[in-house]
Protein backbone atom coordinates (compact mmCIF):
# COMPACT_ATOMS: atom_id res chain seq x y z
CA UNK A 1 0.00 0.00 0.00
CA UNK A 2 1.61 3.26 -1.04
CA UNK A 3 1.79 5.73 1.77
CA UNK A 4 0.83 9.35 1.42
CA UNK A 5 3.44 12.07 1.67
CA UNK A 6 2.14 12.99 5.10
CA UNK A 7 2.57 9.42 6.28
CA UNK A 8 6.12 9.31 4.96
CA UNK A 9 6.81 12.46 6.91
CA UNK A 10 5.21 11.45 10.19
CA UNK A 11 6.70 7.96 10.34
CA UNK A 12 10.09 9.53 10.99
CA UNK A 13 8.67 11.30 14.02
CA UNK A 14 7.52 8.16 15.80
CA UNK A 15 7.31 4.85 13.97
CA UNK A 16 10.87 4.92 12.71
CA UNK A 17 12.18 7.61 14.99
CA UNK A 18 15.96 7.56 14.82
CA UNK A 19 17.99 6.73 16.79
CA UNK A 20 15.46 5.02 19.03
CA UNK A 21 13.34 2.98 16.68
CA UNK A 22 16.02 2.77 14.06
CA UNK A 23 19.05 2.16 16.21
CA UNK A 24 21.56 3.67 13.81
CA UNK A 25 23.80 6.67 13.60
CA UNK A 26 24.72 6.48 17.25
CA UNK A 27 28.11 8.17 17.09
CA UNK A 28 26.92 11.77 16.83
CA UNK A 29 24.04 10.98 19.15
CA UNK A 30 26.48 10.06 21.85
CA UNK A 31 29.26 12.41 20.90
CA UNK A 32 27.64 15.80 20.70
CA UNK A 33 24.69 15.75 23.04
CA UNK A 34 26.45 17.34 25.96
CA UNK A 35 24.14 20.33 25.51
CA UNK A 36 20.79 20.82 23.88
CA UNK A 37 22.24 23.40 21.54
CA UNK A 38 24.87 21.01 20.21
CA UNK A 39 22.29 18.33 19.77
CA UNK A 40 19.96 20.51 17.78
CA UNK A 41 22.83 21.92 15.74
CA UNK A 42 24.06 18.46 14.87
CA UNK A 43 20.52 17.37 14.09
CA UNK A 44 19.96 20.27 11.73
CA UNK A 45 23.24 19.67 9.95
CA UNK A 46 22.32 16.02 9.48
CA UNK A 47 18.83 16.97 8.31
CA UNK A 48 20.33 19.26 5.71
CA UNK A 49 22.59 16.51 4.36
CA UNK A 50 19.78 13.98 4.48
CA UNK A 51 17.48 16.31 2.59
CA UNK A 52 20.04 17.07 -0.06
CA UNK A 53 21.13 13.48 -0.51
CA UNK A 54 17.60 12.10 -0.61
CA UNK A 55 16.59 14.77 -3.11
CA UNK A 56 19.48 14.15 -5.47
CA UNK A 57 19.50 10.39 -5.09
CA UNK A 58 15.81 10.41 -5.90
CA UNK A 59 16.40 12.58 -8.98
CA UNK A 60 19.19 10.37 -10.25
CA UNK A 61 17.71 7.09 -9.07
CA UNK A 62 17.00 5.91 -12.59
CA UNK A 63 20.32 7.02 -14.03
CA UNK A 64 22.74 5.62 -11.48
CA UNK A 65 23.86 2.10 -12.47
CA UNK A 66 23.04 -0.40 -9.75
CA UNK A 67 26.60 -1.67 -9.39
CA UNK A 68 28.17 1.63 -8.45
CA UNK A 69 25.18 3.10 -6.70
CA UNK A 70 26.70 3.00 -3.22
CA UNK A 71 29.78 4.88 -4.43
CA UNK A 72 27.55 7.46 -6.11
CA UNK A 73 25.45 7.88 -2.99
CA UNK A 74 28.58 8.40 -0.93
CA UNK A 75 29.83 11.07 -3.32
CA UNK A 76 26.49 12.86 -3.23
CA UNK A 77 26.41 12.70 0.54
CA UNK A 78 30.03 13.78 0.85
CA UNK A 79 29.37 16.80 -1.34
CA UNK A 80 26.58 17.91 0.92
CA UNK A 81 28.72 17.34 3.96
CA UNK A 82 31.29 19.70 2.48
CA UNK A 83 28.57 22.25 1.83
CA UNK A 84 27.45 22.00 5.44
CA UNK A 85 31.02 22.30 6.65
CA UNK A 86 31.59 25.43 4.62
CA UNK A 87 28.25 26.95 5.62
CA UNK A 88 28.88 26.32 9.27
CA UNK A 89 32.37 27.73 9.10
CA UNK A 90 30.86 30.88 7.65
CA UNK A 91 27.81 31.34 9.83
CA UNK A 92 28.12 29.20 12.97
CA UNK A 93 31.81 28.87 13.57
CA UNK A 94 31.51 28.34 17.32
CA UNK A 95 29.10 25.49 16.89
CA UNK A 96 31.31 24.07 14.15
CA UNK A 97 34.23 23.98 16.54
CA UNK A 98 32.16 22.29 19.23
CA UNK A 99 30.86 19.63 16.93
CA UNK A 100 34.36 19.14 15.57
CA UNK A 101 35.05 15.81 13.95
CA UNK A 102 31.40 14.80 13.89
CA UNK A 103 30.49 17.13 11.03
CA UNK A 104 32.74 15.42 8.47
CA UNK A 105 31.58 12.13 9.91
CA UNK A 106 28.01 12.74 8.78
CA UNK A 107 29.28 11.18 5.58
CA UNK A 108 29.54 7.80 7.25
CA UNK A 109 26.34 8.15 9.25
CA UNK A 110 24.36 4.99 8.60
CA UNK A 111 21.06 6.85 8.71
CA UNK A 112 21.93 9.05 5.76
CA UNK A 113 23.28 6.26 3.61
CA UNK A 114 20.55 3.93 4.79
CA UNK A 115 17.77 6.31 3.81
CA UNK A 116 19.36 6.99 0.44
CA UNK A 117 19.63 3.31 -0.34
CA UNK A 118 16.50 1.97 1.30
CA UNK A 119 14.16 4.78 0.44
CA UNK A 120 15.24 7.55 -1.91
CA UNK A 121 16.62 5.18 -4.53
CA UNK A 122 13.19 3.57 -4.85
CA UNK A 123 10.75 6.45 -4.37
CA UNK A 124 9.62 9.61 -6.09
CA UNK A 125 11.10 12.98 -5.23
CA UNK A 126 8.26 14.38 -3.05
CA UNK A 127 8.12 11.19 -1.04
CA UNK A 128 11.87 11.12 -0.62
CA UNK A 129 11.93 14.72 0.54
CA UNK A 130 9.10 14.05 2.98
CA UNK A 131 10.95 11.01 4.26
CA UNK A 132 14.17 12.97 4.68
CA UNK A 133 12.36 15.78 6.49
CA UNK A 134 10.56 13.38 8.78
CA UNK A 135 13.62 11.36 9.66
CA UNK A 136 15.75 14.52 9.93
CA UNK A 137 13.37 16.34 12.19
CA UNK A 138 12.86 13.24 14.28
CA UNK A 139 16.63 12.91 14.58
CA UNK A 140 16.99 16.59 15.50
CA UNK A 141 14.30 16.36 18.16
CA UNK A 142 15.80 13.18 19.61
CA UNK A 143 19.23 14.76 19.76
CA UNK A 144 17.75 17.92 21.25
CA UNK A 145 15.87 15.97 23.87
CA UNK A 146 18.87 13.87 24.79
CA UNK A 147 21.07 16.98 24.85
CA UNK A 148 18.60 18.81 27.06
CA UNK A 149 18.35 15.90 29.44
CA UNK A 150 22.08 15.50 29.75
CA UNK A 151 22.66 19.24 30.05
CA UNK A 152 20.06 19.80 32.72
CA UNK A 153 21.17 16.84 34.80
CA UNK A 154 24.86 17.33 34.22
CA UNK A 155 25.14 21.10 34.48
CA UNK A 156 21.83 22.13 35.95
CA UNK A 157 21.22 24.60 33.15
CA UNK A 158 19.86 24.77 29.63
CA UNK A 159 21.24 27.44 27.35
CA UNK A 160 19.81 28.51 24.00
CA UNK A 161 22.03 30.52 21.69
CA UNK A 162 23.85 32.00 24.69
CA UNK A 163 21.06 34.53 25.26
CA UNK A 164 18.42 32.61 27.15
CA UNK A 165 19.40 30.41 30.02
CA UNK A 166 17.26 28.25 32.20
CA UNK A 167 18.72 27.35 35.57
CA UNK A 168 17.38 24.38 37.47
CA UNK A 169 18.76 25.58 40.78
CA UNK A 170 16.41 28.57 40.58
CA UNK A 171 13.57 26.13 41.12
CA UNK A 172 15.31 23.52 43.26
CA UNK A 173 18.00 25.42 45.13
CA UNK A 174 19.38 22.23 46.63
CA UNK A 175 19.98 20.61 43.18
CA UNK A 176 23.55 19.55 42.63
CA UNK A 177 24.42 18.89 39.00
CA UNK A 178 26.05 15.50 38.48
CA UNK A 179 28.92 15.80 36.15
CA UNK A 180 28.66 12.15 35.14
CA UNK A 181 25.88 12.96 32.71
CA UNK A 182 27.88 15.30 30.50
CA UNK A 183 30.84 12.97 30.49
CA UNK A 184 31.32 10.08 28.11
CA UNK A 185 29.84 7.27 30.24
CA UNK A 186 26.76 9.35 30.93
CA UNK A 187 26.04 9.53 27.22
CA UNK A 188 25.70 5.75 26.93
CA UNK A 189 23.64 5.43 30.07
CA UNK A 190 21.34 8.32 29.19
CA UNK A 191 20.71 6.97 25.71
CA UNK A 192 20.13 3.46 27.02
CA UNK A 193 17.63 4.66 29.58
CA UNK A 194 15.86 6.88 27.09
CA UNK A 195 15.55 3.91 24.76
CA UNK A 196 14.05 1.98 27.64
CA UNK A 197 11.53 4.73 28.40
CA UNK A 198 10.51 4.85 24.74
CA UNK A 199 10.11 1.09 24.72
CA UNK A 200 7.76 1.39 27.67
CA UNK A 201 5.75 4.12 25.96
CA UNK A 202 5.79 2.21 22.70
CA UNK A 203 4.21 -0.83 24.32
Amino acid sequence: MPKTITQEFTKGLWEELPPFRLVLGLCPVLGVTTTMENGIGMGLATTFVLLGSNFFVSIFRNIIPAKVRIACFIIIIASFVIVVELLMQAYAYKLFLKLGVFIPLIVVNCIVLGRAEAFASKNKIPHSVADALGIGIGFTLSLGALGALREILGKGTVTVWETWMFNLSSIFPSFQPFDFMVQAPGAFVALGLMLCVLNVIGD
Partner: protein, 190 residues
Protein backbone atom coordinates in the same frame (compact mmCIF):
# COMPACT_ATOMS: atom_id res chain seq x y z
CA UNK B 1 54.92 13.98 23.25
CA UNK B 2 56.66 10.64 23.19
CA UNK B 3 55.31 7.65 21.32
CA UNK B 4 54.60 5.81 24.56
CA UNK B 5 52.38 8.58 25.86
CA UNK B 6 50.73 8.78 22.48
CA UNK B 7 49.92 5.08 22.58
CA UNK B 8 48.56 5.23 26.14
CA UNK B 9 46.52 8.31 25.31
CA UNK B 10 45.03 6.78 22.20
CA UNK B 11 44.24 3.38 23.68
CA UNK B 12 42.94 4.33 27.09
CA UNK B 13 42.43 8.01 27.69
CA UNK B 14 40.95 8.95 24.38
CA UNK B 15 39.55 5.54 23.58
CA UNK B 16 37.97 5.95 20.22
CA UNK B 17 34.80 4.07 21.12
CA UNK B 18 34.16 5.01 24.68
CA UNK B 19 35.60 8.51 24.90
CA UNK B 20 35.34 9.79 21.34
CA UNK B 21 32.11 7.97 20.47
CA UNK B 22 33.29 6.82 17.10
CA UNK B 23 32.35 3.50 15.51
CA UNK B 24 29.35 2.82 17.68
CA UNK B 25 27.20 1.09 15.06
CA UNK B 26 29.55 -1.86 14.56
CA UNK B 27 30.32 -1.68 18.27
CA UNK B 28 26.73 -2.62 19.07
CA UNK B 29 26.31 -4.78 15.97
CA UNK B 30 29.30 -7.08 16.19
CA UNK B 31 29.58 -7.39 19.94
CA UNK B 32 26.95 -10.08 20.31
CA UNK B 33 29.52 -12.83 19.89
CA UNK B 34 33.09 -12.92 21.12
CA UNK B 35 34.29 -14.58 17.94
CA UNK B 36 32.91 -11.83 15.71
CA UNK B 37 34.26 -9.17 18.02
CA UNK B 38 37.79 -10.59 17.79
CA UNK B 39 37.68 -10.73 14.01
CA UNK B 40 36.31 -7.24 13.78
CA UNK B 41 39.04 -5.89 16.08
CA UNK B 42 41.80 -7.42 13.98
CA UNK B 43 40.30 -6.09 10.76
CA UNK B 44 39.96 -2.62 12.20
CA UNK B 45 43.60 -2.58 13.28
CA UNK B 46 44.65 -3.64 9.82
CA UNK B 47 42.54 -1.13 7.92
CA UNK B 48 42.99 1.78 10.29
CA UNK B 49 46.77 1.70 10.02
CA UNK B 50 46.61 1.51 6.23
CA UNK B 51 43.96 4.20 5.95
CA UNK B 52 45.79 6.43 8.43
CA UNK B 53 48.93 6.24 6.33
CA UNK B 54 47.29 6.80 2.96
CA UNK B 55 45.01 9.62 4.03
CA UNK B 56 47.95 11.36 5.71
CA UNK B 57 49.87 11.20 2.44
CA UNK B 58 46.90 12.39 0.39
CA UNK B 59 46.23 15.19 2.82
CA UNK B 60 49.78 16.42 3.21
CA UNK B 61 51.04 16.03 -0.31
CA UNK B 62 47.95 16.78 -2.36
CA UNK B 63 45.27 18.61 -0.42
CA UNK B 64 47.54 20.96 1.50
CA UNK B 65 49.91 21.54 -1.37
CA UNK B 66 47.21 22.53 -3.82
CA UNK B 67 45.13 24.33 -1.21
CA UNK B 68 42.19 21.95 -1.44
CA UNK B 69 41.76 21.27 2.26
CA UNK B 70 38.02 21.88 2.03
CA UNK B 71 37.73 18.72 -0.06
CA UNK B 72 39.09 16.68 2.83
CA UNK B 73 35.89 14.81 3.66
CA UNK B 74 35.09 13.70 0.15
CA UNK B 75 38.68 12.80 -0.61
CA UNK B 76 39.05 10.75 2.56
CA UNK B 77 35.87 8.80 2.11
CA UNK B 78 36.65 7.97 -1.49
CA UNK B 79 40.19 6.92 -0.62
CA UNK B 80 39.10 4.82 2.34
CA UNK B 81 36.26 3.15 0.46
CA UNK B 82 38.51 2.29 -2.49
CA UNK B 83 41.26 1.11 -0.22
CA UNK B 84 38.98 -1.20 1.70
CA UNK B 85 37.53 -2.64 -1.45
CA UNK B 86 40.99 -3.13 -2.91
CA UNK B 87 42.28 -4.84 0.18
CA UNK B 88 39.22 -7.06 0.23
CA UNK B 89 39.74 -8.20 -3.34
CA UNK B 90 43.46 -8.64 -2.77
CA UNK B 91 43.02 -10.76 0.32
CA UNK B 92 40.26 -12.86 -1.20
CA UNK B 93 42.48 -13.89 -4.08
CA UNK B 94 45.96 -13.92 -2.61
CA UNK B 95 45.66 -14.83 1.06
CA UNK B 96 42.34 -16.69 1.44
CA UNK B 97 43.22 -17.80 4.95
CA UNK B 98 43.63 -14.23 6.12
CA UNK B 99 40.53 -13.24 4.19
CA UNK B 100 38.48 -15.85 6.02
CA UNK B 101 39.59 -14.33 9.31
CA UNK B 102 39.57 -10.63 8.52
CA UNK B 103 38.21 -10.07 5.05
CA UNK B 104 34.61 -10.54 5.85
CA UNK B 105 34.79 -7.63 8.25
CA UNK B 106 36.16 -5.23 5.68
CA UNK B 107 32.93 -3.92 4.12
CA UNK B 108 31.69 -3.00 7.55
CA UNK B 109 34.71 -0.83 7.99
CA UNK B 110 33.98 1.37 4.98
CA UNK B 111 31.24 3.11 6.84
CA UNK B 112 32.89 2.72 10.19
CA UNK B 113 33.22 6.24 11.47
CA UNK B 114 36.09 5.15 13.68
CA UNK B 115 38.36 4.75 10.66
CA UNK B 116 37.28 7.98 9.05
CA UNK B 117 37.35 9.68 12.45
CA UNK B 118 40.86 8.51 13.24
CA UNK B 119 42.12 9.83 9.89
CA UNK B 120 40.45 13.19 10.45
CA UNK B 121 41.82 13.38 13.99
CA UNK B 122 45.33 12.58 12.75
CA UNK B 123 45.41 15.50 10.36
CA UNK B 124 43.54 17.81 12.74
CA UNK B 125 46.18 17.25 15.37
CA UNK B 126 48.91 17.78 12.79
CA UNK B 127 50.77 14.59 13.59
CA UNK B 128 53.87 13.66 11.65
CA UNK B 129 53.66 10.60 9.45
CA UNK B 130 55.10 8.25 12.06
CA UNK B 131 52.96 9.75 14.77
CA UNK B 132 49.92 9.32 12.55
CA UNK B 133 50.81 5.67 12.02
CA UNK B 134 51.33 5.03 15.72
CA UNK B 135 48.16 6.91 16.66
CA UNK B 136 46.10 5.00 14.10
CA UNK B 137 47.41 1.72 15.42
CA UNK B 138 46.73 2.69 19.00
CA UNK B 139 43.23 3.92 18.24
CA UNK B 140 42.48 0.62 16.56
CA UNK B 141 43.85 -1.34 19.51
CA UNK B 142 41.66 0.74 21.80
CA UNK B 143 38.69 -0.01 19.60
CA UNK B 144 39.44 -3.71 19.70
CA UNK B 145 39.96 -3.72 23.45
CA UNK B 146 36.66 -2.03 24.12
CA UNK B 147 34.85 -4.24 21.64
CA UNK B 148 36.21 -7.48 23.07
CA UNK B 149 35.53 -6.42 26.65
CA UNK B 150 32.02 -5.45 25.70
CA UNK B 151 31.37 -8.67 23.81
CA UNK B 152 32.45 -10.64 26.87
CA UNK B 153 30.01 -8.79 29.07
CA UNK B 154 27.26 -9.05 26.51
CA UNK B 155 27.55 -12.82 26.30
CA UNK B 156 26.89 -12.92 30.03
CA UNK B 157 23.95 -10.54 29.81
CA UNK B 158 22.24 -13.05 27.57
CA UNK B 159 21.72 -15.23 30.61
CA UNK B 160 20.62 -12.49 32.96
CA UNK B 161 17.07 -11.49 33.60
CA UNK B 162 16.64 -8.13 31.98
CA UNK B 163 13.36 -6.21 32.33
CA UNK B 164 11.55 -6.25 29.02
CA UNK B 165 11.84 -2.58 28.02
CA UNK B 166 15.55 -2.65 28.73
CA UNK B 167 16.29 -5.71 26.65
CA UNK B 168 18.74 -5.83 23.77
CA UNK B 169 20.17 -2.48 22.66
CA UNK B 170 18.98 -0.60 25.71
CA UNK B 171 20.84 -2.75 28.22
CA UNK B 172 23.75 -2.83 25.78
CA UNK B 173 24.06 0.93 25.94
CA UNK B 174 23.85 1.03 29.71
CA UNK B 175 26.54 -1.65 29.87
CA UNK B 176 28.67 0.31 27.45
CA UNK B 177 28.21 3.29 29.78
CA UNK B 178 29.57 1.31 32.70
CA UNK B 179 32.57 0.14 30.67
CA UNK B 180 33.08 3.74 29.60
CA UNK B 181 33.05 4.68 33.28
CA UNK B 182 35.94 2.27 33.80
CA UNK B 183 37.87 3.85 30.94
CA UNK B 184 36.99 7.29 32.31
CA UNK B 185 39.30 6.67 35.25
CA UNK B 186 42.29 6.78 32.90
CA UNK B 187 41.60 10.44 32.37
CA UNK B 188 44.49 12.57 33.58
CA UNK B 189 47.00 9.78 33.17
CA UNK B 190 48.63 11.52 30.24
Amino acid sequence: MGYFELIIACIFVNNILLAQFLGNCPFLGTSKKMETAMGMSMAVIFVMVLAGAITWIVYTYILVRYDLVYLRTIAFIVVIASLVQFVEMFLKKSIPALYAGLGIFLPLITTNCAVMGACVLNVDKEYTFVQALVASFAYAVGFGLALVLFAGVRERILLARVPKPLQDTSIGLVTAGIIALAFYTFKGMV
